[in-house]
Amino acid sequence: MLDIVGKRFWFLLISGALALICIILLVTFGLELGIDFSSGSILTVSFEQEVDQDQLERELAGLGYISANIERNPEGDFLIRTVELTTEEKAQLKESLAAKFGTINEKGFENVDPVIAKETARIAAIAIAVAAVGILLYITWAFRRMPSPFRYGTCGILALVFNVLVVLGVFAVLGAVLGWGINLMFITGILAVIGYSVNNTVVIFDRIRENLIKDVSADFKVVVNNSLVESLSRSFNTSLTTVLVVLALLLFVGASIQNFTVTLLIGIIIGTYSSIYVAPTLLVVWEKGEWGRLLHPAQF
């Protein structure tokens, strides 16, 4: 039988390293904020003639919109993110672009004032905190009849924090390289990932509980490993079906909700990984009181 728990120190070391890299990326690049949180405008336009994205970027910079960010959706519309635009500034911008690239159609416009942006950021932060606490309480409650329910809750949350860190790390890079800003859809994606990846962890914990009750083995390590291996194909298959639909969303709907779909994609994959390799292995390390050994790779 596949021995995942036996290699727990390696998996935890790799995961720890990955988490560290993501923290470094986050600290170095920070997160690019979208207009939902930092205020600003997104103007969606289409041109009748074929327009090159680089050319459009240069033209915008020439007009003084240096930090403007451009994305394109599958229909070929351009989403131009700028600082807050007044009605006059928007009219001027459209006029200048029309003079350069020909007929321009405004297909959408969103403008967020700093007052609203601040309020949105505050509520998003509360939501994430409430979700984390809620999930911790729930897992603790769900495993209340186990010897140490709080451990299950904590390991579940640690795996969760790991997932969120990896998604944030990736978005730090996406923000720095492609100028993707995190927005409300990103937060929605993060929360969906939180719910979904804990779902995977709970299924595995559930199996551990069942096998403990059945008294499969006196060794906790063996119980956990059996539970993991038994739920392995379920974990992969469920994630695969979800990844399939998310890919369909990513490819067909594109720019408007790409933050959301990319967050889900990374979150589901990492969530599956952490539910198998992080949460249960942490549980074993805790049970056996092996925290010290994590620091001494020679003893792996």
Partner: protein, 446 residues
């Protein structure tokens, strides 16, 4: 057992037929609901959030003032021909305006939130200036009546302002002062003879058709009526209407705007449906290839699932946004999770030597706690997202996602437990069940 199953099957088929009848054709009217309600981002339209400046309002009167503002905005929106406008108060001082399925120009949008309060000003020094334009620095023109210093504004106009033309065909906006206004005007114009009287709206100068600030020179004392010259016909007409009946009691500031052209929304619906269809086909293919016959049954259950969820969206009704559509599509992928859990469990039970029938029952019973426990985490998150969606200005997509995901996961639990189980039980009794390879390529080889 078989009779119970047949009964279940009948109920399931009846439910499926009902769901199909509800959703097909797409725009049919069922129980008073016509088609699936689409959010602003999918059907196009405008959402504006204004913040009212209540600094001049006495505390306790806020509600009345905001209600007044809402009434005025409703009047201004009427001529635009929106079928279902929505105007509501948000918090203490904000007003949300939603105009679905409408293409509006920037000019029209500006007019919705316009204060339409004209203030008159006199020239002053730079230090004292409230307004600055090409003609100089201005401060509000005031006079003291009944022992109180008051600014001269259009709030003293009688509600009979109209547009006229002079002999030369120039456009005039003609107004009449009420009692208090005429006293103020007499004082002020008497003081300002041969000097200009500036006209301002909010922080801006009132601009003429030529783009220059309007500031007539006072030739004589004005007591009862006056006229403003230089506006375009359109602007003068619009302004006279708003001055008469539609003046806002307090100034508004736009804090949030979302405008979606109906064509962009239609694109999203097309793209989203395509993504959903392809997603569902991929999931079904995977299930069939991996789980064989149970996979086919899960696929059928998935079609049933889709119809049921869409019917729920229509009847509840759920306003479908792009993110909501995403939530629905995501739930398709997640919906089979319960099936996967059960099938994996079935396989295990089968391997331990149980008969197919016993394996199916054990698989369902054992998988249930995992299905229940794991979905509750998704429900918790849906609850939090719903709260986020209702608390913030741009929250409609988040709320839509929370609702569709919640409905999707709830219905998926039902379809996995009831529908797939009934299908499988029926097959156990049939001859097909003897060919175990149909249930999994791996089973026979164990």
């Amino acid at each position: 057992m078989t009779r119970k199953n047949t009964l279940y099957l009948m109920v399931i088929l009846a439910l499926f037929a009902f769901a199909l009848w509800v959703i097909l054709p797409i725009d049919s009217e069922r129980f008073g609901r016509e088609g699936i309600q689409l959010g602003l981002d999918l059907q196009g339209g405008v959402r504006l959030v204004y913040q009212a400046d209540l600094s001049s309002v006495e505390s306790g009167d806020e509600t009345e003032v905001i209600e007044g503002v809402i009434a005025v905005i409703a009047n201004r929106i009427n001529p635009l021909g929106v079928t279902e406008p929505n105007i509501e108060r948000r918090g203490t001082n904000q007003i949300v305006v939603e105009l679905p399925m409408l293409s509006v120009t920037d000019k029209q949008k500006e007019r919705i939130g316009r204060t339409a309060l004209l203030k008159f000003g006199e020239l002053t020094t730079e230090e004292e200036a409230r307004w600055v334009n090409d003609l100089g620095s201005w401060k509000p023109a005031t006079a003291t009546i009944y022992g109180q210093e008051k600014e001269l504004t259009s709030s003293y106009f009688k509600e009979n302002t109209y547009v006229d033309r002079d002999n030369l065909g120039r456009i005039l906006l003609v107004f009449e002062w009420n009692e208090e206004g005429s006293k103020l005007s007499e004082e002020i114009t008497g003081r300002l003879i041969n000097q200009p009287l500036g006209i301002f709206e909010g922080d801006e100068s009132l601009l003429g058709d030529d783009g220059r600030p309007i500031a007539p020179i006072v030739r004589s004392k004005i007591t009862d009526r006056g006229q403003i010259e230089g506006l375009s016909l359109h602007e003068a007409t619009e302004l006279s209407k708003q001055l008469n009946a539609g003046r806002l009691p307090v100034p508004l500031e736009t804090k949030y705007e979302l405008t979606v052209d109906p064509t962009l929304g239609a694109d999203f619906v097309a793209l989203g449906s395509k993504a959903g269809l392809i997603g569902i086909i991929l999931v079904m293919l995977f299930m069939i290839i991996y789980y064989r016959l149970p996979g086919v049954l899960a696929g059928l259950a998935l079609i049933f699932y889709g119809a049921l969820v869409l019917a729920a969206f229509k009847l509840i009704p759920v306003t479908l946004t792009l993110a909501g559509l995403g939530g629905f599509i995501l739930s398709i992928g997640m919906a089979v999770d319960a099936n996967v859990l059960i099938f994996e469990r079935m396989k295990e039970e089968f391997r331990t030597g149980r008969t197919l029938g016993a394996a199916i029952e054990a698989g369902f019973n054992r998988a249930w706690t995992a299905i229940k426990d794991s979905n509750i985490t998704t429900f918790i998150v849906c609850g939090i997202l719903y709260w986020v969606g209702t608390s913030i200005v741009a929250g409609a997509p988040v709320k839509g996602f929370a609702l569709t995901l919640f409905i999707g996961v709830a219905v998926s639990m039902f379809t996995a437990i009831v529908v797939t189980r009934t299908f499988l039980r029926l097959f156990v009794g049939s001859r097909l069940a003897k060919r175990t390879s149909l249930f999994s390529p791996y089973l026979g080889r164990k």
